[in-house]
């Protein structure tokens, strides 16, 4: 049969008709979907209104548990399990409510269903029922079942269901990366000591696998959630031949230590919190590790060890040849309780790397008044330009200039005046001038500033002085300004 233009026209027409039908079909799907969702949310809202107070009452203890349970068991109809699940878990419960929530989910039969789903067992519902309830049919489609299994793992983690930890450990080896990640998170929420070694093992695999399916960050986050007492389970990682495993394990312990130290300024890693084996590992091995990343992380742990060896080891890290090891060593000391180490930290102010200098300045600031005193002294004494610049930056960023300026106006405050004078010499005048402009009514401040610093012939100060000297300025320093300006006029802007 010859190929005619009419055939092309017919084909195009057929395609056009098909596409038009496709358009109509999509519009229909959009509308049906909208209607179904609306119906679902209406039902959900009705249930929420009726049973929300019941759940809240049971969790807070305002309603008798048995009565609440009885009322919640009344929830029926298509998709009732999903609805109950939503009702119970939509609000994040307080820690105190967690045991009641766990019991409620168990008594409602939800925990059993989650466990079965996590284990990959299909719900014992008819296909018809399953089609009405989305989790029902999704679970029956093999390649989509990970969605429901992951959600079940998440739910078990949300209610911190301790007895489910072996199932979750098993899920760490599931082919689905989603389920692995959720299982790791759920284990972190449950924090059962028995699951820690499994997580460590999975963590080793993730690091060593050239194409990992599970993010190391997810596992690290899970390990960090465990109490510090579990850290000894990482000893095997700290001794591992792979430098990245050693680094990440040291990093996990650092995070654990910092979390504990965050709520307790006097925290130290003693026998109660850690163990002698870990302390020895950090002091004798990790502080001298060939991998600088490991040494850097070790500093943060060593600083919390109540061991006489920790001081010299830390000093060694402060002098390390690699800049970021020095950086971490300085950062590890930036807490008020280490103020006695100010001398060592101050030495880092002249470090060749600016990040170390910056960390040193911030550490000294964190020491409080004593640190600030040290910082001021160094600022006035040092001839190192980089160090001066760094300290000047911190004075500005930390908002110390208003204090300096206010004190400068007081009698006998020559040190503050000297700092301001040095700042003016360095050209760091913007903050000072904006404060002087704001404090226009403060005649004493203007006068004192002019008396002590007016002779600094930097253009910015002269520029500021000009309007002050004008008759209309109304500043108390007006009489002083022209005499200050006069000899400097050739250098100024006019």
């Amino acid at each position: 049969m010859p190929f005619l233009i009419e055939h092309v026209i017919e084909a195009v027409f057929a395609l056009f008709t098909l596409l038009l039908l496709g358009n109509l079909l999509l519009v229909g799907v959009v509308i049906i979907r909208r209607k179904r969702r609306q119906k679902f949310f209406q039902r959900m809202d009705a249930l929420r209104e009726k049973y929300g107070p019941v759940i809240a009452g049971v969790l807070s203890g305002g309603m008798a548990y048995e009565q609440g349970l009885r009322e919640l068991r009344e929830v029926s109809g298509p998709g009732s399990l999903s609805m109950l699940e939503r009702l119970c878990l939509e609000k994040r419960p307080a820690s105190a409510e967690m045991p009641v929530l766990g019991r409620l989910c168990e008594d409602l039969g939800l925990v059993k269903i989650w466990q079965e789903r996590l284990a990959g067992q299909t719900d014992k519902t008819s296909l018809r029922e399953a089609l009405v309830d989305p989790p029902g049919w999704v679970l029956r489609v093999r390649f989509l079942s990970f969605l429901i299994r992951s959600k079940s793992a998440e739910n078990l983690g949300l209610i911190r269901h301790g007895p489910s930890w072996p199932l979750l450990v098993k899920a760490l080896e599931d082919p689905s990366p989603d389920l692995q990640a959720v299982a790791a998170r759920a284990l972190a929420a449950i924090r059962h000591p028995g699951s820690f070694p499994a997580l460590v093992e999975r963590f080793h695999k993730a690091v060593l696998d050239p194409a990992p399916v599970l993010s190391v960050r997810t596992l690290k986050s899970a390990l960090v959630s465990f109490p510090l007492q579990s850290a000894c389970g990482l000893a095997v990682s700290l001794r591992h031949t792979n430098p990245r495993i050693r680094f990440l394990a040291a990093d996990v312990i650092r995070e654990m230590v910092e979390r504990e130290a965050g709520g307790n300024p006097d925290f130290c890693l003693d026998q109660e919190n850690g163990n002698a084996e870990l302390a020895a590992l950090f002091l004798t091995k990790l502080a001298f590790d060939v991998n600088p990343d490991v040494r850097a992380q070790a500093a943060h742990v060593i600083v919390c060890l109540p061991d006489p060896r920790s001081g010299p080891v830390l000093v060694g890290l402060l002098k390390d040849s690699v800049w970021f090891v020095r950086l971490h060593a300085v950062r590890s000391l930036s807490k008020p309780k280490f103020a006695s180490h100010a001398g060592w930290v101050a030495k880092a102010l002249t470090d060749s790397n600016w990040r170390v200098r910056e960390a040193a300045v911030r550490a000294l600031r964190a020491f409080g008044p004593a640190g600030l005193d040290e910082l001021t002294g160094r600022f006035l004494e040092t001839r190192d330009r980089y160090s001066q610049e760094q300290i000047a930056e911190e004075f500005q960023r930390a908002g110390l200039i208003p204090q300096l300026l206010a004190r400068c106006a007081e009698k006998g405050r020559n040190r503050e005046a000297a700092v301001l004078s040095r700042l003016v010499e360095m050209g760091k005048t913007s903050y000072i001038i904006s404060l002087l402009d704001l404090g226009e009514g403060n005649a004493a401040l203007h006068k004192e500033f002019l008396r002590k610093l007016g002779q600094k012939a930097v253009p910015q100060i002269l520029h500021w002085l000009q309007p002050v000297a004008l008759p209309a300025s109304g500043s108390g320093a007006r009489s002083q300004a022209p005499s200050t300006l006069a000899p400097k006029r050739p250098h100024g802007k006019g």
Partner: protein, 472 residues
Amino acid sequence: MELWRQIFIHGMNMFNLIIISYFFIGNGVYTLLMVLSLATVWVYNRRLAYQGMDEIRESPVTPPVTIVIPAWNEEQIILETTDSVLQTDYPELEVVVVDDGSTDSTLERLVEHFHLVRMDLIYRHDLPTKPVRGFYLNPDVPNLMVVSKERGGKPDALNAGINICRTPYFCTLDADSILEPDALLRLMRPVIHSPVNTVASGGIVRVMNGCQVRDGRVAKVALPRSRLERFQVVEYLRSFLFGRTGWDLLGGTLIVSGAFAVFHRETVAEVGGFSHDTVTEDMDLIVQMHHWAVKNKRRLKMSFTSDPVCWTECPATLKMLGKQRRRWQLGLCQTLWKHSEMLFNRKYGLVGNFSFPFHLYVEALGAVVEFLGYFMVPLAIIFAMVPATLYLLFVLLSLAYGGLLSIGAVLLEELTYRRYPGYRDLASLLWFAFIENIGYRQLVLYYRFVGVMRFLAGSRRWEKVTHVGVAQ
């Protein structure tokens, strides 16, 4: 004369073949992307049920992020943007607003609103930029810094922000945009959970026109009043929900909108930051990172996620729309030309063999083919080379296909996020999706065609779209 006639006929036949191939390749790939996106977004939406946002928020291993906002003459909206960013729900966040030599009161408004004071800080630059004039901070708002610099263009302002950024990741945000509170958390999720180093993560940009904005937040989502803006709502849905999602699934991401995206600072600095070579610096950076990964044999990932939302003002006038689309098209051509060695280069895998050629043939050259088609095919009818019926049917086919793709985008929206709750809004979206191909498409096509012509003429002009604060 007969020779010329023969040449004309051959020329027309060639062109008709190009048109037909463009139609089928373009729409074929778009259909593939739509089908993939429908499946991906549906699955992704189910996966959101167990994504553990609280865990990301509370985990000490969640990396800190700096949001960099380049601003040039944005006095109308800069305060809303900065306010919204400061309210972002993220554990460790810094905000750097780079005033790129504005001639209006952008800087003054920021200084006044946030009680900033000028400070003389150290400017260390890994990436070269125009000189910085001053730093503005308020010690009581330690996570906000405003930097004033000499005008150097958007890439220069972004590079200045990167120089100042101390965090391992930074997020670029256009000054005319408003972030949803949890948008950054959601955007960082693929970075945190991916086992591969994710160096770029893009989110969805939605049209803010018509929405109610209160205290730096989109308080009520609604469709804009004007038809021009409504067409853009549908267009953004199509572009982000199935265009970018589909390419992400295939691993062929070439564009991550710099209006709202997270980047790995070290990798961006390694590739030289945002380049001044093109007027679409975001696309150029992504392609540059593909280059860098191949050259350095690194396994990198660039991801797109459809649930972190950034609301932005779309052009409300034809003039502004023209400026925006010409620039996008010019930038696309410049970027593809600059990295032309990627074309069908096996080293670049799917990006070089599928995504790059598609963008070149359908997105860049397609504008010329389609534009000329509107003139050449009628010519072919006049010269009796194509039956008028076939032409008419072909036009209808093209409209129906376009409608299918746009309605598909609305369906995706309905299956997943349903940001437009009213039935009227839904009906309006469907209607505008259907009629988008009659008039609006041709208008945009004209701007794109001009963009290609400007590229051929060697233009490097960055056309600024000014914003008037169209949100209610």
